[in-house]
């Protein structure tokens, strides 16, 4: 087993041993059960028409998935923030980096382990939620796999940024910065959407720039797009007042240019994390 895989395995094992995985499973099952009850009531309601139900189901699923995306992002930030800094402070990493292991392998191993956890959660929660919604309401998004993939990508991007910061700042400071970045990027996305609706170029620019500075919101909109049936998109586009400034709506998927940018952003930040830890005095 290569050192990268040894470190990755250790990272995953820690999450299991510290009951992180068990806690997430319990919370997820509870939240999905709750959402199942809600979707059942919504789809079987006699106070709204079937057309309104068809419009409401995707929107409700997007809202639930937003909650899960929030959990993914916060979890990515929470588990990555102590990954390097706390282990340097406690002296755990000093026992590892003095082995025949490159520091870059330590960071890559930690990233791989943490990304595996984020991916596991993203795909598990997406599969569970969509299966339950499909079962109780008969609604299945057009591309659940792509939506889950974008959910994971959003978490992976934040995880990579937090890991970079963790090579220099304390765990507490890193966690705060990670959450603040994520919240700011999401808010900037809302501001940008409002700018588009009300034709305020300055606000629109804020949204566009923020999506490039931290691609979490841009990728989240990719997840939104693949949760929306084409009829839902067509109806919302037709209803200008209904979709204007709505942060839970996407007319198009992210462009391939944007995805290339996100990939480059990821590689640059991961590379910066490797260099930063390589140069850090332990």
């Amino acid at each position: 087993m290569t050192p990268v895989l040894v470190i990755a395995r250790l990272t995953v094992r820690e999450a299991v041993r510290r009951k992180l995985v068990a806690v997430f499973l319990l919370i997820t099952v509870a939240m999905v059960s709750l959402s199942g009850w809600g979707f059942y009531r919504l789809s079987h309601s006699r106070t709204i028409t079937s057309g309104e139900v068809r419009l409401a189901l995707p929107q409700a699923l997007i809202l639930f998935m937003f909650m899960f995306s929030f959990v993914v992002a916060l979890s990515a930030s929470a588990i990555a923030s102590p990954a390097v800094s706390a282990e340097v402070e406690s002296g755990v990493l000093q026992t590892i980096v003095t082995r025949p292991v490159r520091r870059s392998q330590v960071i890559l191993g930690k990233w791989l382990g943490l990304a595996f956890l984020v991916a596991g959660y993203s795909f598990a929660v997406s599969a569970l939620e969509m299966a339950v919604v499909d079962r109780v309401s008969g609604f299945l998004p057009p591309d659940p796999v792509a939506a889950a993939l974008y959910l994971f990508a959003e978490g992976a991007v934040l995880l990579t940024l937090v890991l970079l910061i963790s090579t220099r700042l304390s765990a507490l400071a890193t966690g705060v910065v990670g959450v603040a970045f994520f919240g700011s990027a999401w808010l900037a996305g809302v501001v940008g959407a409002l700018g588009s609706t009300f034709h305020i170029s300055a606000l629109r620019t804020v949204g566009s720039v923020a999506r490039y500075v931290l691609p979490t919101d841009g990728l989240w909109h990719g997840a939104i797009y693949y949760l929306e049936p084409s009829t839902f998109i067509a109806q919302r586009v037709a209803d200008v007042t209904g979709s204007g400034g709505n942060p839970f709506f996407a007319v198009t998927p992210p462009s391939w240019q944007y995805l290339v940018w996100a990939a480059l952003w990821f590689l640059a930040v991961l590379g910066a994390g490797l260099v930063s830890f390589e140069r850090r005095e332990l």
């Binding site: 087993m1 040894v6 755990v92 026992t95 082995r99 025949p100």
Partner: protein, 339 residues
């Protein structure tokens, strides 16, 4: 006897085993830059190794050579720069000057670390792993073949007296037990060089004794041990050679005998010496009259009969001769007090 104290001899506290400050006067040939691991290359060789953190100079310039198979004591007061030097040798921090070669390769070389065992001064293992799992993790990181894992782990646990606690979580270990486990981890893979940074700081007397026995066992196996400590007793018990550092510089280096054994003191009860006798008395180290007693320091033991003869020759009567051997602690304090 005159109360005069002699100033004939220089305060030669640092003169026993001189430490040349210049890089070109260092002992020991080294194939600088050699990436290989020639068995003839010293285990550790540094030339004016320096570390500065912004305005703070942690190491002024350490020069030393540790031969293969030696138990080398790295001695100094708190804050002298010992741990910084160790971290430089392991590649945990980067030097701002000088050179360091470890097992024939530049300090911090990744592959060479396979042949080094290291017990840090301040460390912690994963609290959620058992002692066996920690050792297995390090077997994997070392790249040991799988068939060697179980015997290596069992051997390490037995050596440090943790065989009965191998399946217990490290989080439940006392500080002393963690230190024992740290030593066990450092011994995995039969390293050629074992670097121990204050290995007994958390141990009780029994544990300290065990660590000394482990170090002696390593010496018998031909393993080089670099022992960073401020415990003089530890050094006296196990070290073949010692370097003393203070304020980031090597101030003395040599064998224990060289450091403390060449010279000693002798106290003589002398009466009958005439006035100004000291004008005709010299060549016997530093001397200080103390009433009827004469304390002669920095004298070779073989010179004592000659000293007695000289005193008798000056008309003195020697009623008692009491040799006083200098301890490492005395010598250590002398070295640190030197300007």
């Amino acid at each position: 006897m005159s109360p005069t104290s002699s100033a004939e001899q220089p305060a030669a506290v640092a003169g026993l085993v001189p430490v040349p400050p210049a890089r070109n006067s260092l002992p020991g040939p080294v194939a600088a830059g050699a990436g290989g691991s020639s068995p003839k290359s010293p285990a550790v060789h540094t030339i004016e190794l320096r570390k500065q953190y912004r305005r703070t100079v942690a190491l002024e310039g350490i020069s030393m050579t540790v031969g293969r198979g030696e138990v080398f004591g790295f001695l100094g007061p708190n804050g002298a720069g010992k741990t910084t030097a160790v971290k430089l040798l392991l590649g945990l921090v980067h030097p701002t000057g000088g050179e360091a070669m470890v097992l024939g390769a530049p300090a911090g070389d990744v592959e060479t670390r396979r042949r080094i065992g290291y017990l840090p001064e301040l460390f912690r293992f994963q609290a959620w792993l058992s002692a066996r799992e920690v050792l297995l993790l390090h077997c994997r990181l070392l790249g040991l073949p799988k068939p060697r894992w179980a015997p290596s782990v069992d051997g390490a646990l037995a050596t440090v007296g943790l065989s009965e606690r191998g399946r217990d979580k490290v989080g439940a270990f006392s500080k002393g037990m963690q230190q024992r486990l740290g030593l066990g981890v450092a011994l995995l893979g039969e390293p050629e060089l074992v670097v121990l940074d204050e290995p007994t700081s958390a141990l009780d007397p029994v544990g300290r004794h065990q660590v000394r026995e482990v170090i002696k066992g390593l010496r018998e196996r031909g393993t080089t041990v670099f022992l960073n400590t401020h415990l003089l007793e530890e050094v006296e018990h196990v070290c073949d050679r010692v370097a003393v550092i203070d304020r980031g510089r090597t101030i003395a280096t040599g064998t224990l005998a060289e450091l403390v054994g060449h010279q000693s003191s002798v106290r003589l009860q002398v009466t009958g010496l005439g006035e100004h006798w000291w004008h005709r008395f010299g060549g016997f180290g530093r001397w200080t009259p103390e009433g009827d007693w004469l304390l002669v320091e920095a004298i070779q033991p073989a010179q004592v009969p000659e000293l007695v003869s000289a005193i008798v020759g000056l008309g003195g009567q020697v009623a008692a001769v009491m040799p006083e051997h200098k301890s490492l602690e005395d010598r250590f304090l002398e070295l640190l007090a030197a300007p």
